[in-house]
């Protein structure tokens, strides 16, 4: 029986359940994963996010046991599983294209893992149907995978990977084989099921929206290393590098030099803007240093009138405007020639007479909207 532990979902600083210590994977002369360390808490849904070739899939495959780590250790529930073959690990994986056995029925697919474990026949039946009911696929038990839609196949794959009650569930690009329309709905459903079962889960995805929808915490990976790790909100609001700022959501990046460095604020002169940037947080970078500043498009406001104040605004001309439904996306050519992007909520657009293309406008933002990026 799949244990259902209500309220067992991850609640912030949980105890460490998966520990990856200084793991390295080298193929020939290519370093796929570079001395990476990571902790994942019990019942946490953790996303490894990155573009293809960043090493996230290699890391997942090392957790599953399909790849041997060149060095480093992996602990699961205080047990060193680094050297265990995949069939001895209390870890199950939902494969990217599901990898359902095409010659077996849905029922036989789900029962496969229990049979390998030597679970008695009468118990297998009950557990298989419990798992299928959990994903609402009980009615399809006699079908072959080829007779199911993509979404149904995914549910079966999930049931198959949960039925053995793994300590750790791995999801490899769980939504990539689904149509865009049903992805978001499926993401939320999947998280609900995972929370209900209370399984610790590590997923791999290249889709930042998917990671932000599903994961409690995520790690942005690049070139075999973790660039930043935190909750979706932390990583979005406080990216630690230009790479992360650009990877998670879209952003406006300005470069400039620190001219005033106080404890509670810094001022940055940028040739790309009409007025200096004033950022309401202290930075560790020294005076006169070249830095980058990230401002999210939704933090930028568009006006016809020149804003008051000596900082945090710039003049430009609307070069493009796209109506996206819930918001409008403006592209504004600043006097410096740089293109800035602003997202204006539809409601604000409807209330006032919105600026049109080729109109002269001012953009401004509050002092807490900007994030200084050291690299």
């Amino acid at each position: 029986m799949i244990e259902i532990r209500p309220g067992a979902s991850w609640s912030g600083a949980a105890d460490e359940f998966v520990r990856i210590e200084d793991i390295v994977k080298i193929y020939g002369d290519v370093v796929a994963v570079q001395s990476l360390s990571l902790s994942v808490g019990r019942h946490e849904i953790f996303a490894l996010l990155g573009s293809s070739g960043c090493g996230k899939s290699t890391l997942l495959r090392m957790l599953a046991g399909f790849e041997e780590a060149t060095s480093g250790r992996i602990f699961l529930d205080n047990e060193d599983i680094t050297a265990l073959p995949p069939y001895k690990r209390p870890v199950n994986m939902m494969f990217q294209s599901y990898a359902l056995f095409p010659h077996m029925t849905v029922e036989a697919n789900v029962a496969f893992g229990l049979k390998q474990e030597g679970v008695p026949r009468n118990e297998i039946h009950g557990r298989v149907y419990e798992a299928l009911d959990l994903v609402q696929m009980g009615a399809y038990a006699r079908r072959k995978p080829s007779q199911l839609s993509g979404g149904q196949q995914q549910r079966v794959a999930l049931a198959r990977s949960l039925v053995k009650r793994p300590k750790l569930l791995l999801l490899d690009e769980p939504m990539s084989a689904l149509d865009k329309q049903i992805r978001q709905k499926t993401q939320i459903e999947l998280v609900k099921i995972l929370d209900k079962v209370g399984v610790t889960c590590i997923m791999v995805t290249h889709d930042q929206e998917e990671a932000m929808t599903m994961a409690h915490r995520l790690a942005v990976m690049s070139e075999g290393q973790i660039v930043q790790c935190g909750t979706p909100q932390e990583v979005y609001d406080f990216p630690n590098s230009r790479f992360v700022a650009g990877f998670i959501g879209s952003t406006n990046l300005f470069s400039g030099t620190i001219t005033v460095d106080e404890a509670d604020h810094v001022q940055i002169e940028s040739e790309q803007l009409s007025r200096p940037l004033r950022v309401d947080h202290g930075v560790s970078e020294p005076l006169g240093m070249e830095v980058h500043v990230s401002i999210r498009p939704e933090r930028i406001r568009v006006h016809r009138e020149q804003p008051a104040g000596e900082a945090n605004w710039s003049h430009g001309v609307v070069s493009h405007m796209a109506w996206m439904g819930s918001y409008a996306r403006y592209q504004i050519r600043l006097d410096s020639g740089m293109l800035a992007e602003a997202s204006v909520p539809s409601q604000a657009m409807l209330q006032s007479d919105a600026p049109a293309v080729d109109e002269e406008v001012y953009i401004d933002w509050s002092g807490d909207s900007a994030t200084v990026l050291p690299s």
Binding site: F66, F101, P102, H103, K144, S146
Partner: protein, 307 residues
């Protein structure tokens, strides 16, 4: 508006597509077989051709004479029945040996790196560049009492007396397995190379040890390749002539040799034709039906994909 193939009704397009292979089969399979069938019902006569005509039209009377001498002899003389049974046994053992040797080879090739894979495939196909006759002669040189194999074993001190292999059934088995092994490996390889490795990984992931994963995932999924390869070995082995003739002893009864004897030594065309027709009916028709059933079953397994 000009008429084109694309505008033709679907039925016509289908006929145009099917026609060439269909005509080919009629001209080169069905017509020759009907000729053989006709000869099998004729009587022996001296002259050219060395058999009588089936139908005669004389004095406004059409007389059709079906001579069943060949068939009667076939079922009354135990030699023929024994020959059929022995041919089937030889072919079955050959097929089994090809499976046992060929499956690991095909699996290994399919799992190799692409560059190595092509090299190994060339290795499998390479013998075809030499005539079968030459290769069987080479086997005579190996298996003879004073041949390579016996000399080697005696030199190594493993035997004192030469092994009597040449001109026995064992030599025929060796020759048949050697000659037909590639026909088993190639279709099976084509099947195995398409197998999704992730299915195997999924099996490991769910707790299956490598052997169990192989038996429950790879083996069932490769059955179409195994069946295709087995057919390609079994069917021609039953009627094989050259290998039993050259490697087998006088007591190696195989249907191909009987046909040859009837046809060339006894000049008994109707008898040879009857032997052939019975072989086709008794062996090949059931096999084709079996194959058809398999294909249908696998087709249903594959199923339809609905979105």
């Amino acid at each position: 508006m000009k008429p084109s193939i694309a505008r033709a009704p679907v039925a016509w397009r289908r006929i145009l597509t099917i026609a060439p292979p269909f005509i080919w089969l009629v001209l080169f399979l069905l017509v020759p077989f009907l000729l053989v069938l006709k000869i099998s019902f004729a009587d022996l006569q001296f002259g050219i051709p060395p058999y009588t005509a089936l139908a005669e039209f004389k004095d406004y009377t059409l007389s059709v004479v079906l001579n069943l001498r060949g068939y009667a002899l076939l079922f009354s003389d135990s030699l023929y029945v024994a020959t059929y049974l022995h041919s089937v046994k030889m072919a079955a053992v050959t097929t089994l040996c090809c499976m046992l040797i060929g499956y690991p080879m095909a699996y290994y090739i399919a799992r190799s790196e692409p560059a190595v894979r092509n090299l190994l495939l060339i290795g499998v196909i390479l013998p075809f560049w030499t005539s079968l006759l030459l290769r069987v002669y080479a086997w005579i040189g190996i298996l003879r009492n004073d041949g390579l194999l016996n000399n080697l074993l005696m030199w190594a001190g493993m035997i004192d007396q030469p092994l009597e292999i040449y001109r026995t059934d064992l030599a025929v088995y060796i020759g048949l397995v050697y000659a037909y092994l590639p026909f088993f490996i190639l279709p099976l390889y084509a099947n195995l190379v398409k197998l999704d490795v992730r299915l195997l990984e999924a099996a490991y992931d769910l707790g299956a040890r490598p052997w169990r994963a192989f038996v429950s995932v790879v083996l069932p999924l490769s059955m179409p390749g195994v069946i295709a390869g087995a057919m390609l070995v079994f069917i021609p082995s039953v009627g094989e002539f050259v290998i039993p003739e050259m490697l087998g002893g006088a007591d190696t009864l195989m249907i191909g040799r009987v046909m040859w004897t009837e046809f060339f030594n006894n000049s008994d065309w109707p008898m040879a034709a009857a032997v052939t027709c019975v072989m086709v009916l008794l062996l090949l028709v059931p096999l084709v039906l079996f194959q058809y059933g398999q294909v249908r079953q696998l087709g249903m397994r594959g199923g339809r994909r609905n979105g």
